[in-house]
Each structure stands twice: as structure tokens, then as C-alpha cells.
Symmetry: C2
Subunit: 215 residues, 2 copies
DNA sequence: GCAGTTACGCTACGGGTCGTAGCGTAAGAG
DNA sequence: CTCTTACGCTACGACCCGTAGCGTAACTGC
């Protein structure tokens, strides 16, 4: 899952004393997401989260060092539900993932939390690293998998062997990820229009055509 | 420029009393950008901005209702420097704009401020509207202009006449904007890698291929 | 000049949040 | 039953927000 705190992640067995309440863990993360929906990032307070979770504020600070870390952990898990469907052809697969991601970002807690945390990370290198490992890199798997599958189907040319080919493949994966994720995020959060099937179809059409000969 | 406050924008001539200090205006906006660079969004305080600007805190509140509005105004002007170069062909034009936008977002004050304000806007409809009118819609002109120019060159097919054609054109413009802006923002702020000429070239290649037959 | 009007700097304040400290108590381990 | 750790609670200092009140500065119109 997500890296918890400095002290100790899972309840190590050699541990003595009263164990962390896993129920409290869940209640806090749920309460954080709920508070984000209701209040947004700027007005979310630790006291409020604690009250919603039925937990003392000090219990929050025993687990997370500050608001950012808490919200990252509360939100990261939401992105794990994304999957690459197998609809038979690359374009349909892309459409499917675009719609999933669009639906995910349409949910208020996802939208608010992601943006807030990314914003905060622009001035906080440690937080940015945490986001990358907890959220972004985990989702790159979708691009990598979709690409492999398309290559097996013969829809994309196979990677050229050697280090040059690997580098080109990594570049293509990076560009694809930035294009898809960036477009969806921009449409949802900036343009503020829905990611519907028509838009997903257009986007996938452009990508299929454009990425075809990239290597 | 940007909509100032509720009361009155430019010093109307029928006005009596001591006029607003335009010097203070500039000092405050400059100080806001500087503070953003140094402190980031979360730690930026109105008191600090006031101190940097050599101005009383109350003077800030006489002009802007809160932090968000101040930062939007301080940042919006930065985006006006974007221009569509005329490099002879559509792909080169796109590359040029991508590099400009990339360089703009590489600057700390732009990066920080844009993200922070967008993040805040996810829970504030009025602020979102202000961003759209002050920043986003103003830059859509680049896409519209580039598209027209490419159609005149014969690089893109002309719009079909009639309302259906207009709607298709609007959709294409919207998709193009989300793709370009989204990819650049995502690469800069999430992937956290540079928008260099190689990447810009790849991106423009994909777009040229993909957008060609979209209408 | 002089009154009228508005902006400015300054100080002070109430309300709210952050993150921490200290205490007594609850829950497991050996 | 003791040791160790987590929990709830209260209180606290530090900080920031946004506003109010005052005396002063700047500009307009008479």
C-alpha cells in the first residue's frame, strides 16, 4: 500500500504494547475523503477530520506528520481501482481507460485532493516524490501494459532491440502518459467539462493516429 | 488587463478624493510573485506580501478580497506573453508554442501559482470562473489562430459550413487545447521533467498526425 | 486657499488553525 | 501482573486571517 510513517509501517511482530487501531486508520482516511468533499482543501482542518473519525486530534498526528501526508495517503488508494480493459483493439482499450480515469476525476474527493496535493508539491520536493511513488508511477503500468498488448496484436511495431530502442520506448511511454493523463486532468479541472464517450473517442482517435509510428 | 475589484477598475475621471496608488498596485503584485517563489502557496501570507511591498496589510484588503483573488491577478499577466510564432508550417508553430509554454511553466512563480489557484478552484466555482476568463480562455486564442493559419496553408481541411461544422470545429479546438496544455502541465508539474526541444518535437509530431483528419 | 472625499499607514483585535505537551487510562505482550 | 505502547482529553503558544478605528496624506472642486 502506501508508505505510512517514519516509525513503523505494519504492526511488526516483535512489537510490544498496545497496537495501533486499524479501525482508527480506516476511519481517519474515510473521514479525510469525506471532509475533502464537503470542505475542499483550503477549509479542511485536522480537528474536523478527527471529529468526523471519532478520534482525538493527537491520534492523527501520531500517524501523519501533517495535512499533506494524510491527504496523499487518503487519496492514493482511489487510483488503484483503475484497470486496463481488454476490448480487443488498442483504440477501444484507450477509450476504456480514459473513461475510467475521467469518472474517477469527476468524483469530488479525487478532484480536490489530487489538485491540492499536486499544488502543494510544487514547493515541496519530498511531497512530490511521495506523490510520484504513491500515485503517478503506479498508474504508468496502464500505459506499459496497453502498449505491450498492442505490440502483441501487431497494432504497434515491436521495440527495437538495444539501449537505443529501450530509450525510445521509455520516451514513448512517458509522452503517452503525459498526453492521456494531462488531457483528462486538464479537461476535468481547467476546462471543467465532462469526459464523456464522445470526447474519449476523439481523444483515442488522435492518439492512435499520432502514436502509431513513434516506436 | 484583469478585472480588479468590485468598486471600480481604472481611476474614473469623475472621481474625487485621493487616488489609488498605482505604484502600490505594482509593488503588491510583484511582491506576491516573489513571495510565491520563496514560500510557495501554503506558506504565503498576506502580512508577508504587504511587508515585501512596503505597504500596510490593509491596503491589500482594500484591493483584493482574499488571497486567491490576489494570486490570480498576480499570475494572469504572466500568461499574456505567450505568442504563436510563424515558422512556416503547423508543426513548427506548435513546437514553438509548446516550448514557450514549457518555459513559462518552468518558472517557479508560474508553476506554483497556477497549480495552487487551480487547486483552490476545485471547491470554488467563482474562482474557477475567474481563472477561466483571466487565463485559460485568453490562451485558447493560440489554438484558434494556429488552426486558421494551417487551414489557409492547406495543412488542415477547412471547416465544413453550417452549424454541424462549427460544432465540430469547436470540439476540435477544445480537444487540441486540452491535449497541448494538459500534456505540458502534466509533464512539468507531475512528471517533473523538462519541456525540451526533443520532447516538443515528439509532441508536435503526434499532434500533427493525430489531428490531421479530425475536421 | 479650503472643505470634501478617498486612500494610506498603523495598531489592535476576535476568531480560527496548527502542531505539541502532559496526563490519566485502555489494550495487548510476556 | 508488569511493561510497553496507543488512546482520549485538555490546554497551550504561535501563527495567520480579515476587520475596525484612528490620524494623516493626497487629490478635486469650489
Amino acid at each position: 500500500m502506501v508508505a505510512r510513517m517514519h516509525h513503523s509501517a505494519s504492526p511488526r511482530k516483535g512489537r510490544t504494547g498496545r497496537p495501533r487501531s486499524t479501525e482508527a486508520d480506516r476511519a481517519i482516511l474515510d473521514a479525510t475523503r469525506a471532509a475533502l468533499v464537503d470542505l475542499g482543501w483550503g477549509k479542511l482542518t485536522m480537528s474536523d477530520v478527527a471529529a468526523r473519525a471519532g478520534v482525538a486530534k493527537t491520534t492523527l498526528y501520531r500517524r501523519w506528520a501533517n495535512k499533506n501526508e494524510l491527504v496523499v495517503d487518503a487519496v492514493a488508494v482511489l487510483f488503484d481501482e483503475l484497470e486496463l480493459p481488454d476490448r480487443g483493439c488498442l483504440q477501444s482499450d484507450i477509450e476504456g481507460v480514459v473513461l475510467q480515469f475521467g469518472a474517477l476525476l469527476a468524483r469530488p474527493e479525487t478532484k480536490t485532493a489530487l489538485m491540492a496535493v499536486v499544488a502543494e508539491s510544487t514547493a515541496d520536493e519530498a511531497l512530490r516524490e511521495r506523490i510520484r511513488s504513491a500515485i503517478v508511477d503506479r498508474q504508468k503500468r496502464l500505459v506499459i501494459l496497453g502498449r505491450e498488448r498492442a505490440q502483441q496484436r501487431g497494432e504497434l511495431p515491436p521495440d527495437r532491440p538495444g539501449p537505443a530502442g529501450e530509450q525510445a520506448a521509455a520516451q514513448a511511454i512517458g509522452l503517452t502518459f503525459d498526453l492521456i493523463a494531462g488531457a483528462i486532468v486538464h479537461r476535468t479541472l481547467v476546462t471543467a467539462e465532462a469526459v464523456d464517450t464522445a470526447w474519449a473517442h476523439q481523444l483515442s482517435t488522435v492518439l492512435i493516429r499520432g502514436l502509431g509510428g513513434l516506436g
